[in-house]
């Protein structure tokens, strides 16, 4: 008590257990403060997966800065001025302007390890459950690449599927990689994600294609891209950054 009084904080609570009804009421109130209509009940993997691990890194980066900066606006400026080591400079830039960050897990994948005739990797995400009043400012697909013994140059391209069961695709982003590269590759899919948020029915997925320098198509797994059959902590996912358009208003109860 003395130490808290020294810091100008006074403590006057008596600790006691809440009854069931009281507890439920408090839970309801705190959920309302958090802007949630109900308590989420996620079905989780036993092992840590890639998206929560990445999001935890983001959280830690934000939290360290929040503790150092009393004012929220100062914290955001600090993020702009300083690169965070855990996440890349690009995520750092997006994070500085974001009020909400969401990760989306891959729901479907036509994996080349299963389909030996397939030269593209299909991924699908559900971006329908975005909270109301959030404006998407940036989105990136993150896919892990393992090292391979062939140190050649490859081009990876990400396409948006325009029509199902046809070859109608829209190129979104490309990257040049080397066989020796290892780590997370990021592809800008902001425009497509915005379209999916507005019209979820157009969310037909993404396709990933890999070519050699002489435009020979090869299987994505061959260059070390991790798919659905890979380890949980290296699964592909989307991370999207949002800015709140309006202040959060609690509903009247």
């Amino acid at each position: 008590a003395d130490s808290t009084l020294e810091h100008g904080i006074h403590s006057s609570f008596v600790h006691r257990r809440l009854r069931g009804q009281e507890r439920r009421e408090i839970q309801k109130e705190i959920l309302s403060v958090l802007g949630l209509s109900h308590r989420p009940r996620p079905h989780l993997h036993e092992k840590p997966t890639s998206a929560p691990t990445f999001m935890m890194d983001l959280y830690n980066s934000v939290n360290v800065r929040e503790e150092k900066n009393a004012e929220f606006s100062i914290f955001k400026q600090f993020l702009r001025d300083n690169e965070i080591s855990v996440v890349g400079p690009q995520e750092n830039h997006f994070l500085a302007d974001a009020d909400l960050v969401m990760s989306f897990v891959n729901l479907l994948e036509n994996d080349t390890e299963v389909c030996h005739q397939c030269y593209s990797k299909e991924l699908r995400f559900n971006l329908a459950d975005i909270p109301v009043g959030e404006q998407l400012t940036a989105a990136e697909l993150r896919i892990f690449k393992n090292q391979i013994p062939y140190n050649e140059t490859y081009q990876i391209s990400v396409y948006q599927v325009i029509e199902e069961n046809t070859s109608k695709l829209l190129k979104l982003d490309t990257q040049i990689i080397y066989g020796s590269d290892i780590g997370w590759l990021t592809f800008d899919i902001t425009s497509t994600s915005n379209a999916w948020v507005v019209n979820p029915q157009y969310s037909l997925g993404l396709q990933l294609m890999v070519e050699t320098i002489d435009h020979r198509r090869i299987q994505p797994g061959f260059v070390g891209l991790v798919g659905r059959s890979g380890p949980q902590e290296k699964q592909p996912f989307i991370v999207a950054f949002f800015r709140s358009e309006t202040n959060h208003l609690r509903s009247v109860r």
Binding site: R16, G35, R39, P42, F72, V101, S103, F104, H248
Partner: protein, 148 residues
């Protein structure tokens, strides 16, 4: 104004001073405290920041809230009595409000002890679809209290 609303405010304050628990005490099982001196809450004290910890863990939410385990929200409580200059962070209007209260104590209440500065927190949690959400919430933590 001399509406009955002010009477209700005074009555509510009076009943609180007579021994009703502050609203925060309803929530104490998910808060931690370093003091157990129950008698203190009946003493008239200057407007101050008080300890109040919201524990997501004690609410049984550790299955969907990844971080933090909880946060120090604090709350403001205490009396805004004359002279207000001796109390922290009184607004100019609070001083005027105090004077009007002196002139008409039965109808005009004293200034209220309330947050003057608030800070945000970030919460990391799962939604129903096992997607992960990192959200910044503004105005969640009392940085300082004052008389308004």
């Amino acid at each position: 104004s001399t509406s009955g609303k002010h009477w209700n405010l005074e009555k509510a304050k009076a009943s609180k001073e007579q021994g009703e628990l502050p609203i925060g005490n309803l929530t104490e099982s998910f808060m931690s405290s370093s003091s157990t001196n129950a008698g203190r809450r009946f003493l008239k004290q200057a407007c101050k920041k008080h300890e109040l910890y919201v524990s997501f863990r004690d609410l049984g939410w550790q299955d969907w809230i990844i971080a933090p385990e909880g946060y120090a929200a604090y709350y403001c409580d205490g009396e805004c009595a004359f002279p207000l200059n001796s109390y922290m962070n009184a607004t100019n209007h609070a001083i005027v409000q105090t004077l009007v209260h002196f002139i008409n104590p039965d109808t005009v209440p004293k200034p209220c002890c309330a947050p003057r500065e608030l800070q945000g927190i970030s919460v990391l949690y799962f939604d129903d679809g096992a997607n992960v959400i990192l959200k910044s919430y503004r105005n969640m933590v009392v940085a300082s209290c004052g008389c308004h």
